[in-house]
């Protein structure tokens, strides 16, 4: 299948040759028991394919400097749709990749729940082109952390807050980083939604 060739090539493009000294690893203060990040050619983004399945990738994005997300590391999962060859229905790259945050993040364009869906025009079916590349997608996700797009929100409440009450937004986003995005590199650090969190988002009863 031609898809495999493309996917492995793209992975190489994302990872590149082993990095020159001080390029990336030093940027992240690895904590005790942290996972080792794969090499990368991208700024603040690391990608690694599943050992058994080239179509599933783990992605880590470092909260960009001078943003509310600074200091956090966000883990994402990417799935490349697999096509069925005989019927001619194309998988990747004829269909766009699916990408979700697994680390909770407070962001107008990411659902504020455990699915972490991202609203990104590049990976919408009608915008995606077979010649579009994963690298571009990952960079676009990171760009979304630098510059949220409140006019096309997934979380309208957060978008409103971002537009009208920036201070409150920053406070909330930073507290999410503290709570969820600090220990991302530690093995088995997957933090799930706490009861408190669910209650906080539920409409208050009088």
């Amino acid at each position: 299948m031609s898809g495999i060739r493309r996917v492995s090539k793209e992975l190489t493009e994302c990872q590149g040759p082993p990095p020159p000294e001080g390029k990336d690893m030093s940027k992240v203060k690895l904590q005790d028991g942290a996972a080792i990040l794969p090499p990368t050619t991208m700024e603040g983004i690391w990608a690694k394919a599943d050992n058994s399945n080239m179509y599933r990738w783990d992605i880590w994005i470092e909260g960009p400097a001078n943003t509310v997300y600074e200091g956090g590391i966000f883990k994402l999962k990417m799935e490349l749709p697999e096509g069925s060859a005989p019927s001619g229905t194309g998988g990747y790259p004829f269909k766009p990749p699916k990408i979700n945050f697994t680390t909770r993040i407070y962001h107008p364009n990411v659902t504020n729940d455990n699915t972490g869906d991202i609203c990104l025009s590049l990976i919408k079916t009608d915008v995606w082109k077979p010649a579009s590349k994963i690298k571009g997608v990952l960079e676009a996700v990171r760009q979304l952390l630098i510059e949220p797009n409140p006019d096309d929100p997934l979380e309208t409440r957060i978008a409103e807050e971002y537009k009208n009450n920036r201070a409150e937004f920053e406070k909330n986003a930073k507290s999410y980083v503290q709570r969820y995005a600090k220990d991302t590199l530690k093995e088995n650090s997957s933090k799930t939604t706490t009861k408190k969190e669910t209650l906080k988002n539920a409409p208050s009863k009088v």
Binding site: R5, G90, K129, A131
Partner: protein, 527 residues
Amino acid sequence: MDSDEDFQSTVSSDDDAMQDTDNDEMSGVEDFDAFDDEPDEEPDLGPNKIQRKRIAYDISFKVYSPTDIQAHQDEMMDEVNMILEMRKEDAAILLRHFRWNKERLMEDYMDKPSKVLEAAGLGSSTINPPRLEFIPGFTCDICYEDDDGLESFAMKCGHRYCVNCYRQYLTQKIREEGEAARIQCPSEGCGRIMDARSLDLLVTPDLADRYQELLNRTYVEDKEILKWCPAPDCENAIECAIKKKDLDKVVPTVACRCGHRFCFGCILNDHQPAPCELVKRWLKKCADDSETANWISANTKECPKCNSTIEKNGGCNHMTCRKCKHEFCWMCMGLWSEHGTSWYNCNRFEEKSGTDARDAQAKSRVSLERYLHYYNRYANHEQSARLDKDIYTKTEKKMVQLQTASGMSWIEVQYLNAASQALQTCRQTLKWTYAFAFYLARNNLTEIFEDNQKDLELSVEALSEMFEKPIAELSDPKLKVDIMDKTSYCNKRRVILLEDTAENLANGRWTFNVDLKSLAPVSSGRK
């Protein structure tokens, strides 16, 4: 009212039905004047208005087959191709880009040709026809294959990919996404549109056929005056020049060649005489369970103190709320202590304490009963229409038997078919008259409307009864004549009702008791 009696009498003397209804239609107009207290507005009913009435009810439309649709497109493409001297494929892309607005295309193109081409995804064009090529050292940017002899293709934008990838891309777009008019070059951010000739070069004939089919769809979907017939398996399109903003003035009912009658405004089945907006509201009202709430408010009351909902299903009027122990009178909702010794018999209606609660209660009851009145009749006709249809399917078989039993020819038994058709259409209309009436505020016009409604209903029920007669009776020539007469009478009554409602709708004479935002402000009417 004179006309009313006339109508009644014609029900019994079917032979004169046609003649009488014609007269009645005239007298109906006269009666209408009689309600008018302001003779100076008389000119409103002059010949102009009558003319417009005809147009308002008999909406003009055309039915097109798939071949017609194709021919229309070809014609327009040829025209653009001739005038602007461009390839037919490019003309097609431009036309689709301009949503088949040829005039605007010409104007814009003459003004800024390169800008128009760019926007439509054509860029600067050359004359070379599209072809597949072998390029030495070529690597496909989609699959990353770089084999020697890899066949590749590029549109005018120059983004080159291997044929396999192109094929897969197009298959996916056409088969899975149903895309046709807006398939872009596979390169990221390139807006170049795939044209029919390039496509033919790349895909199998059956996929190209599907592409053509989808393109035809965009032609109909892009044009506001065209709509697909919504009947299953019908491939025809209807042309009707009705504007969206006029939907409060007309109910644009069209009939496809396949026999399906529908409203051009909202695509729902024929809903004359009710305008689209009323239909939308009515259906919503009937569908959601807002009526459950209505029942609750009609059958229960709230404790005046703690607001717990209480249903009284027997017993005396001295209520003690289970929850808060508040004691009150069920009748007047006032404090029980105010009742003194007049237990079990509340005669304190003048007291202020319970007036408001009672008012709300009464309103709710009336509103529910009113709704149910109209809904039951609406639902009844819907149900009956279904039954009539069932009977017709059975009758169709009987029509064959009838031929042998009575020696009538197939053509001679067609009157049953006509009767069945009449029953269906008239019931459809009757059904919607009840939804229409539900929203109608009472004025002089509503009386005429209700008379028309009653006449139609009576004759439809009479015809329905004849229609259900057993086969032995159906072969009686007398009954055949009766059915034929009644059929044409029903159709006549329906036309009269529709003309009356359509005319008043067109002239904004109805007053509706709901605030219909999308309806234009209704004139205060004549009092």
